[in-house]
């Protein structure tokens, strides 16, 4: 759960009264844009994306304009701009036009979790506006935060001094930056990054103004809900399948899914975080989604998860795979009962379509669970192969992939024909 840009970032910063650059959004009229231009002389036009989207500047998606004509041109070009970062392509949902803040100093500031310090740290540099990774170590400071105290003014002062910040700016920054800890700690953030903060002159005083914000939220900390951000902001990060499964999310986990390839052929029920990591890697493109249904889900929950899964993927998939190591606590019988009851019920509703079922699992009540599956699959006439925990999980996965390739290429149609012949006979 992430956000970027001032459109929603400003809401966040206003919670702790951190100054933000003035901005208007894409719905502003020409007259409003003109007035905004007259007030600020230059505007920074950026596409607005849902979720956390970085590297916009590098992708040439940030324009500085000084006339209405240029502003409208930038708006036209950026309103539905497409941006690819990592393996993800996103489409903009409007633009923001931010006041250009004249400043002699651009500061980078972030608070994040550090595995090195096993706690929160802030990172600061007066050489901001660029990629923080690109800066040499002497130009940036990483400072550990005591979570019970927060950010001390002296820590900001020292860090800025050590990284070469002109003295005149330090006082203004020291007044405002510590507030960000309240935001970070009080509203369930895992990262907040302000880059750049431009320090503008306001009368005789200097004022740091955030010109861009990136934030990510802790899904396990409900505090972010108090901010009142629109639901749609995070919904776009999930697919319809993920959203349906997320409805079942509780603190016990048991229902984590991530859609990987909607054109894949294998419905993979993965049990446990380790199986999730290893199985998703081994299955690659064949896996429709990645999942972790471990943690001993109760029958009702695993039935519901399975019901939703089959509703989304039964028609498209050719294989159902249940994979996990030797469970510690998960009752295999209960989970298998949930999955196969749901499969039976879905098949009787949606019609017969043979999925090849491969199981690799160990743990409490495993044999009882396997026979539960066997009995239902025999009745459904779905073929199956069942392995215990004495078979390598990865070998099972590799075997399942090969079996699925054959099943899709020829096995399934041959089986259908054979059954039809039997029925006719």
């Amino acid at each position: 759960m992430q956000l970027s840009g001032l459109r929603y970032g400003s809401k966040l910063l206003q919670l702790v009264e951190f100054p933000v650059a003035d901005f208007i959004d894409g719905s502003a009229t020409n007259q409003e844009i003109q007035q905004f231009l007259e007030k600020h002389r230059k505007l920074v036009v950026k596409p607005a994306f849902y979720g956390g989207v970085g590297k916009k500047g590098k992708a040439g998606l940030v324009r500085i304009v000084s006339t209405l004509q240029e502003a409208l041109q930038a708006k036209r070009e950026l309103f539905f701009a497409q941006h690819t970062y990592g393996n993800k392509t996103v489409t903009a949902n409007g633009v923001t036009m931010e006041a250009f803040v004249p400043s002699d100093l651009e500061v980078y500031f972030s608070i994040s979790s550090s595995s090195e310090f096993r706690g929160p740290v802030f990172t600061i540099t007066p050489w901001g506006g660029v990629d923080i990774e690109a800066l040499p170590p002497e130009k940036k400071a990483v400072v550990e935060i005591d979570p019970f105290i927060g950010i001390n003014a002296f820590e900001i002062t020292n860090a800025l001094t050590d990284t070469g910040c002109p003295e005149a700016f330090i006082s203004a920054l020291v007044q405002h930056l510590p507030k960000l800890w309240e935001l970070y700690d009080g509203y369930g953030l895992t990262t907040i990054e302000l880059n750049p903060i431009r320090v503008m002159r306001k009368g005789n005083q200097l004022l740091p103004v955030a010109c861009d914000v990136k934030a990510s939220f802790d899904q396990d900390n409900p505090a972010w809900k108090r901010i009142g951000l629109p639901d749609a902001l995070f919904q776009t990060e999930t697919t319809a399948f993920e959203a349906d499964i997320n409805e079942l999310r509780t603190y016990q986990g048991q229902s984590d899914v991530l859609e990987m390839n909607p054109n894949g052929s294998i419905i993979p029920f993965m049990f446990g975080g380790g199986a999730n990591s290893a199985a998703t890697e081994t299955l690659g493109e064949a896996a429709i989604f990645s999942s972790d249904f471990g943690g001993n889900p109760p029958y009702e929950k695993i039935y519901e998860i399975s019901r939703i899964t089959f509703e989304h993927w039964y028609d498209k998939a050719s294989m159902l795979l249940l994979i996990g190591g030797k469970a510690n606590n998960t009752d295999i019988y209960v989970t298998f009962k949930g999955v196969f009851d749901a499969l039976r019920d879905h098949a009787s509703k949606a019609g017969w379509k043979p999925l090849y079922v491969v199981i690799g699992r160990g743990g409490p009540n495993v044999v009882k669970g396997m026979f539960y599956a066997k009995d239902i699959l025999d009745r459904l006439r779905f073929p199956y192969k069942v392995f215990g925990h004495d078979t390598s999980m990865i070998l099972t996965l590799e075997y399942a992939k090969r079996l699925d390739e054959w099943w899709r290429a020829e096995g399934a149609s041959a089986y259908r024909n054979e059954l039809e012949t039997q029925v006719r006979a």
Partner: protein, 908 residues
């Protein structure tokens, strides 16, 4: 920031050697010990570890947690544990995530002797995790987790925290020389299991968790492993996110601490590089350089060799990285050879593909074909045993206000049985619905004659039994009362008990000898077994009915394994000149098992239900037979109940109609009857009738008494409410000339009649409101608490049935009258809007229509009509009650319908 530091670390670590991490000397207190997960896991840990859990905390509750080696006392808070003088140095936290930080604070605040805390809970907010770190660093306490399964020491046989090794830790956690540190709890056990196959055991295993913060991470683990004389090598499982591993390896390289033992590291999760939301482990989300590839590089650089290749087995003395956990055993072997060490014990197998179960339906290409192999002990024995089991299994639970059979849909107010609405069920016959109530699927077409046969058979009664009914009637009993008195006496009569025994025998035989519908030859052992347990030389009692059943079973061509087995038994008996013991009951059981076999194999229904099914069929039939209204004048009665073979092949619904109405039904009569019965099948588990049935099951009664429970919980207000509507309609139509209420050309001006009734009711209402208490008796069967408030209101159930019957050309004058009435009431200003005609009206108008001609002719009186309406309700509801009883018997617990004292109150 000032804080505790323990050399060589820049932070506090309270552990020098892995030997000390978890021992039998440690004393443990478990927070949320009675929570669902702990309640299962903690006793196993306690028993495995020699009873090291000295106390548990359950906020607000005291008690004990039972274990095989003694109970663990449970207190309301840590303070209370301390006040009792109980000392402990390890805390285990199972508290839900938002309470974890507070629980840790409580442990640290009240117990200065505390050394370590294991947090099992998943999804602890990162904020709380950093606060826990700060708290425990200040207090000098090591934290393992969160989101972990704790730690285990195989040398001392002790585990603390979660469920490493599962229910049988001794199976997997075998003593040896490998220390495990794993980001995955499941892989901790799985890797131990893999290592065991190659001859390596465990010294200590730690499930570190994989949240954003790992508090007991690789640097301190390796430091402690180096100082552990039991540990010869370290196996680690790593996922993306965090620089813990880099820190550890850098510190070794920089000689912050010495480390000389080999490491076998598995890094997975390359695919997580580009995801922005965690799936699986919350902390397995990489930032910049801490993705899987980055981590692989750290290890490869440290080891100085490429990733392990099982063909070349090249490793260094520092160890090797493996690409997946399946290579860990081979890699450890290779590393041990390199450092000149021997495995801990002989290898017990390998990790190759071993198929435990496979289908015989699809032939796969030779390259994919695998033989089924014998699973290792004890799973081999379990496979043989479990294979004999059949049918659905349910988890026993308190079913007091719950049902796995019925529910009232809160949005539509339409009740459902096994997911089908009563509207759908009202399109089905009584026999279909009874089968559905038990089997949870509708019968196959070929099963319907069999169902009719068995149901009609059980209508054959000893007519002397009717004397009791007559006494009841004479005493003014309502139908539920006299039917209950008869059903109570059924008990678990020999016929039912023996049929159950035979059903059990047949199912056992099929599973024990692994028979299915493709079985062509039966093994001689089966024949011997049958001869010993079922056949005998003394002749069995024969009746026309048993002869008929015998012929039916023998000639049936149905493809069902139960039938095949029974046909084989019949042949066997004939061949050997022997008789089947209790042939009639055996044949009944055969039929019942046969019709319910498929739903049982599909795990829709339990084996118990199949064994009991003869009883359900019997009771349904008997309720119908005993309900005859006026048997003296019923021309069909004798033929229905005598011991002759007439009527057996008719539809059971048709026979039920004949019992009640004393005539052969027309198709439209039958349609209306089954509509009426379908609608009354259930109204959810909260109804009195369902509760009565469930409570009786809860008291562990026979099935027949559970039916009595249902019957006893119906009455004039529940089931008998048709009394009022029928009386109202009869009053309205007393002067009308209506020879046939099913004829739309009846010539009666129903609108005018309705207007008259509306005005009369308006006048009555006005008058009633003027008297002091102002109580106004409503017109029965109009309005509904849910379907009200609109200008024109409609009960969708009534609308559905009306549409369905109209489609079939079925007309009902009383119904039309009701529809006019609600409009006229509004037109006359008696009601503020147009009330709906509710579904209860449907029941009354159909009943009245079915008996109208007899009533007009004086062949039946009003009281009998009202009893009939009640009886029809009971017929429908018997179907629903059967489902409810079967469900409660499958899932419920003894006495679960009892109300706890705390929920009771005394009223002055």
């Amino acid at each position: 920031m000032r804080r505790l530091k323990t050399k060589p670390f820049p932070y506090y670590v309270g552990l020098h050697s892995l030997e000390e991490l978890v021992t039998r000397e440690h004393r443990v207190c478990v927070m949320n010990i009675l929570g669902s997960e702990s309640r299962k896991v903690t006793p196993v840990s306690h028993e495995y570890s020699g009873g090291n859990i000295v106390a548990g905390v359950q906020y607000g509750r005291r008690g004990t947690l039972e274990t095989k080696i003694g109970n663990i006392p449970v207190y309301r808070s840590i303070r209370e544990v301390m006040e009792k003088g109980i000392t402990f140095d390890m805390g285990v936290v199972y508290i839900p995530p938002l309470g974890v930080c507070k629980a840790v604070s409580e442990l640290v605040t009240h117990n200065e002797a505390l050394k370590r805390i294991v947090i099992v809970t998943e999804k602890v907010p990162a904020r709380d995790s950093r606060n826990i770190r700060a708290l425990c660093q200040e207090a000098g306490v090591d934290v393992i987790g969160a989101n972990c399964l704790g730690m285990a020491n195989a040398w001392d046989r002790v585990r603390i925290g979660g469920s490493l090794g599962g229910d049988h830790p001794e199976e997997t956690l075998v003593k040896g020389s490998i220390a495990i540190h794993s980001n995955s709890g499941n892989f901790t056990t799985t890797m131990a299991e893999y290592l065991r196959t190659a001859g390596f055991g465990i010294s200590t295993a730690v499930s570190s968790g994989k949240d954003v913060y790992i508090h007991f991470a690789l640097p301190e683990f390796l430091y402690a492993a180096q100082n552990d004389p039991r540990t010869k090598a370290v196996v680690i499982y790593v996922e993306p996110g965090g620089y813990y591993e880099k820190m550890a390896l850098d510190w070794i390289k920089d000689r912050v601490f010495g480390f000389t033992k080999p490491i076998i590291a598995c890094v997975t999760g390359r695919w997580k590089k580009n995801i922005t939301r965690a799936c699986g482990h919350a902390g397995a989300l990489s930032g910049g350089g801490d993705d899987a590839e980055g981590k692989e590089r750290w290890f490869d650089d440290y080891f100085g060799v490429d990733v392990f290749d099982p063909k070349t087995c090249k490793v260094s003395k520092r160890g090797v990285r493996v690409s997946s956990i399946q290579y860990i055993p081979d890699a450890v072997k290779a590393v041990f050879e390199k450092i000149d060490e021997k495995p801990d014990f002989p290898s017990t197998g390998d990790l190759s593909l071993k198929l435990w179960l496979g289908d015989t339906m699809v032939k796969v290409p030779p390259a994919l074909d695998l033989p089924i192999v014998l699973a290792p002990a004890p799973y081999d024995r379990q496979i043989v045993e479990v294979n004999k089991q059949v049918g659905a299994h349910y988890l026993r639970q308190n079913m007091a206000c719950k049902s796995g059979a019925s529910r009232m849909n809160p949005e539509t107010q339409v009740s459902e049985l096994h997911g089908k609405t009563v509207l759908d069920l009202s399109r089905r016959t009584l026999e279909e619905n009874l089968y559905f109530a038990l089997a949870k699927v509708m019968p196959e077409k070929s099963d319907i004659p069999t169902l009719n046969l068995i149901l009609n058979l059980f209508m054959k009664i000893d007519e002397r039994r009717m004397n009791l009914i007559d006494v009841g009637r004479a005493n003014g009993c309502t139908p539920n009362a006299y039917l209950a008195s008869q059903i109570a006496l059924v008990g678990d009569k020999e016929l039912l008990a023996k049929s159950r025994g035979h059903a059990r025998f047949i199912i056992d035989l099929i599973r024990e000898f692994m028979l299915d519908e493709h079985t062509k030859t039966f093994p001689p052992e089966l024949d011997a077994y049958v001869q010993e347990h079922l056949l005998r030389s003394e002749p069995s009692r024969k009746t026309d009915v048993s002869e008929l059943l015998f012929k039916e079973v023998k000639k049936s061509k149905k493809s069902c394994v139960a039938l095949k087995v029974c046909q084989h038994i019949i042949d066997l008996a004939e061949e050997r000149g022997l008789e089947i013991r209790d042939t009639y009951e055996f044949l009944l059981a055969t039929i019942a098992v046969c019709v319910l076999w498929n739903p049982m194999l599909e795990k829709r229904i339990s084996r118990q239900l199949v064994e009991d099914s003869v009883t359900y069929f019997y009771l349904m039939s008997r309720i119908v037979a005993y309900s005859v209204v006026d048997r003296e004048h019923n021309p069909h009665w004798k033929k229905l109940v005598d011991q002759k073979l007439s009527n057996l092949n008719h539809s059971f619904t048709e026979n039920a109609f004949k019992v009640l109405f004393g005539r052969v039904p027309t198709p439209s009569d039958l349609l209306e009857l089954q509509t009426l019965l379908g609608l009354t099948i259930t109204n959810g588990p909260g109804t009195l009738s369902a509760k009565g049935a469930k409570e009786s099951v809860s008291a562990r009664n026979d099935i027949s008494m559970a039916f009595v429970g249902f019957l006893a919980n119906t009455g004039r207000a529940h089931g008998g409410n048709g009394y009022e509507a029928i009386a109202f309609l009869v009053e309205q139509f007393k002067d009308a000339v209506l020879p046939d209420p099913g004829d739309p050309d009846h010539g009666v001006d129903l609108q005018q009649m309705a207007n008259r009734a509306a005005r009369a009711y308006g006048a009555y209402k006005k008058q009633a409101q003027e008297v002091e208490d102002g109580a106004v008796k409503p017109i029965p069967c109009i309005n509904h608490p849910v379907f009200r408030g609109n200008k024109i209101n409609v009960d969708p159930r009534e609308q559905f049935v009306s549409g369905m019957l109209a489609e079939k050309g079925v007309y009902n004058a009383f119904w039309e009258f009701y529809r006019h009435l609600v409009k006229e009431l509004y037109a006359e200003g008696v009601t503020k809007n147009v009330f709906c005609v509710n579904v209860d009206a449907v029941l009354s108008v159909i009943t009245l229509k079915l008996v109208w001609k007899d009533l007009q002719a004086g062949r039946i009186n009003l009281r009998q009509v009202q009893e009939l309406a009640f009886t029809l309700f009971l017929f429908g509801r018997t179907v629903g009650a059967s489902a409810e009883i079967a469900d409660h018997r499958d899932r419920g617990l003894d006495m679960d319908c009892r109300t706890p004292e705390s929920e009771l109150s005394y009223v002055l």
